[in-house]
């Protein structure tokens, strides 16, 4: 699809986009959580955003509601790798039972990125083939990057360390 422009994008997605903004040359679009998978599919298949650069989450405890925001950053190469356009898609997730559809059916590279978001924030990705903790030990019971977790709180880690020493399961 040559001659890509952002107006084409907003025309096609139309009412799915709740709001959009631009800062330092980057365009961000807010979408609803239940429509996110559909929009990402349109972006990959019709608009050729084949490269998922980053997938992460931010916790706005006490500042905004709903509390979590999931951020997808996509890249479009263009026909001869000459366009290189990037956009950001964001969606808001509530605090109780945070969950959203997994993007692994669209990009295989979303696998570990989603596991990290689950590990750090506790957001469940429905349809993920293997959602387990990736950076913390598997029996860790807190979500470290949430704003109500103190950075120096080593007690949960010590608990799983003692358990690993006792049971010998590393």
């Amino acid at each position: 699809m040559s001659g890509f422009s952002l107006e084409q994008l907003s025309n096609r997605l139309g009412s799915y986009i709740e709001s959009s903004s631009e800062f330092r040359g980057e365009n961000t679009y807010f979408v609803a959580p239940d429509k996110t998978l559909k929009i990402l599919q349109i972006l990959k298949e019709e608009f050729k955003f084949t490269y998922l650069v980053d997938l992460t989450a931010v916790d706005y405890l006490g500042i905004k509601s709903p509390r979590f925001e999931i951020v997808y950053y996509l890249h479009r190469f263009g026909e001869d790798y000459d366009e290189n356009i990037r956009i950001r898609i964001k969606t808001k997730i509530t605090e109780d039972n945070p969950s959203i559809d997994s993007a692994t059916s669209i990009w295989t590279g979303a696998d570990w990125l989603e596991r990290e978001v689950y590990d750090m924030f506790g957001i469940v990705f429905k349809g993920h083939p293997d959602l387990r903790r990736i950076l913390m030990p598997e029996d860790y019971d807190e979500f470290p990057l949430r704003k109500d977790f103190d950075v120096r709180n080593r007690e949960p880690s010590k608990k799983s360390f003692q358990k690993a020493l006792r049971e010998g399961n590393f």
Partner: protein, 406 residues
């Protein structure tokens, strides 16, 4: 749990049974380049499934950066990709400068120096990547030659910033101090001597029959699969995709330099090795152009709210003393918003996603580590191959665990 098909066959003879063997390449292993654990499900010598486990070096850097100022976050960025720390630093400083919107006010002298140091970091990292890849496959001499050259680069970094490995060198706005007097001489000396070692390693490895047998056709990945995984860097260019952030979304005036991006077409471990090798020669070309055009002038931008004042003024003038105190204690105020900036690190695209709430401390920093995303391709590369090919695959992706685990 994990999605592995465990073989368990019972034949008609009650004494004969066949089952998969589970082999643990534990976190402590000479060939895993750090604390990586790979659990191999084997059918004899053939790998059915390779499941990597990471997180043994997770230090909580993203959380630690949330209650310190931006300048204080800089030393943490060194320790993520510790093999080419200077590239991480430059990426972070460029991201903060993008957030503040001061990219046009950085003096040319700082930008050209950052290009030189970035390319030295790229050479540094590829020396380790190629050296350890070769050592894992048995070619031990190449590793010694590569490390000897790395010591030369350490000497250059030491005269510039005082540290060998974890540099923490640039500042928001430019460089912390004037370059040393013998900087140009040392760089020109390096440009003269380095190609000789490159040629030696070339003779040792590139047409070495054993090296080719161990890497050609091993750990293959097609271009479409690579883009689907989000691979970047030589791992992507080895599969034929000509994508390099220095050409596609240039930063630090890379579009003014004349260099090429090596792209190989086979997608196997040998192609990735060739890409890395040629990238070192291209980096040398960029360093030569940069040192020929190193302009005189200030080394840091003239921005009173962001840059620390000169020490002489701090000792003698009251306003400078107060400004110094405020910038160090509170940090400089940033506009609220969020940005992402990606740089072409030797291992792939390193990106910093910074969310700012208007104060001097970041609200959230997320680091998009290239090795973290590249590592996802390992199970696919290892499936159906021999155990020894898993070692070649890990070496050819060129990972560093500090970046995977952060």
């Amino acid at each position: 749990m994990e999605r592995v098909e465990f073989i368990e066959e019972q034949s008609s003879d009650p004494n004969l049974r066949k089952e998969s063997m589970i082999l643990n390449m534990g976190p402590q292993h000479p060939s895993t380049h750090g604390v990586l654990r790979v659990v191999l499900y084997l059918d004899g010598e053939v790998v059915q499934e390779a499941v990597p486990y990471v997180g043994y070096l997770h230090r909580g850097i993203e959380k630690l950066c949330e209650d310190i100022t931006y300048q204080q976050c800089l030393p943490y960025t060194d320790r993520m990709d510790y093999i080419a720390s200077i590239c991480n630093n430059i990426g972070f400083i460029l991201s903060v400068e993008k957030l503040l919107g001061i990219e046009d006010e950085i003096p040319q002298r700082a930008k050209v120096t950052e290009v030189i140091l970035s390319e030295l970091g790229r050479i540094e990292s590829h020396l380790v990547g190629i050296g350890t890849n070769a050592m894992d496959l048995g070619a031990m001499s190449a590793f010694l030659y590569c490390f000897k050259e790395r010591e030369r680069i350490y000497d250059i970094l030491e005269i510039v910033c005082g540290a060998r490995l974890t540099t923490s060198y640039p500042r928001v706005g430019g460089l912390p101090d004037e370059l040393p007097d013998n900087f140009e001489e040392v760089i020109r000396n390096f440009i003269k001597i380095f190609p000789k070692t490159l040629n030696e390693v070339d003779k040792l490895l590139t047409r070495n029959k054993i090296f080719i047998e161990r890497t050609r056709g091993v750990a293959t990945i097609t271009a479409e699969e690579a883009i689907g995984f989000g691979l970047t860097g030589p791992s992507l260019r080895g599969s034929g995709v000509p994508f390099d952030l220095r050409k596609s979304n240039p930063y630090l005036n890379y579009d003014h330099y004349d260099f090429e991006i090596p792209v190989a077409s086979d997608g196997d471990a040998y192609s990735r090795f060739l890409c890395r090798f040629e990238e070192m020669r291209q980096s040398l070309k960029i360093i030569e152009q940069a040192i020929n055009n190193l302009p005189d002038g200030p080394y840091i931008a003239d921005l009173p709210d962001i840059v620390l004042p000169e020490k002489q003024k701090v000792y003698t003038q009251m306003e400078s003393l107060i400004r110094h105190f405020v910038i160090v204690y509170n940090g400089f105020n940033t506009p609220p918003g969020e940005i992402y900036h990606g740089v072409e690190n030797p291992k792939g695209e390193l990106g910093y996603y910074i969310v700012s709430d208007g104060t001097g401390k970041p609200y959230r920093i997320h680091v998009r580590g290239p090795s973290f995303v590249n590592m996802q391709a390992l199970p696919m590369m290892a499936k159906g191959r021999l155990v020894a090919d898993v070692i070649a695959a890990i070496g050819s992706i060129d990972i560093v665990l500090g970046e995977i685990d952060r």
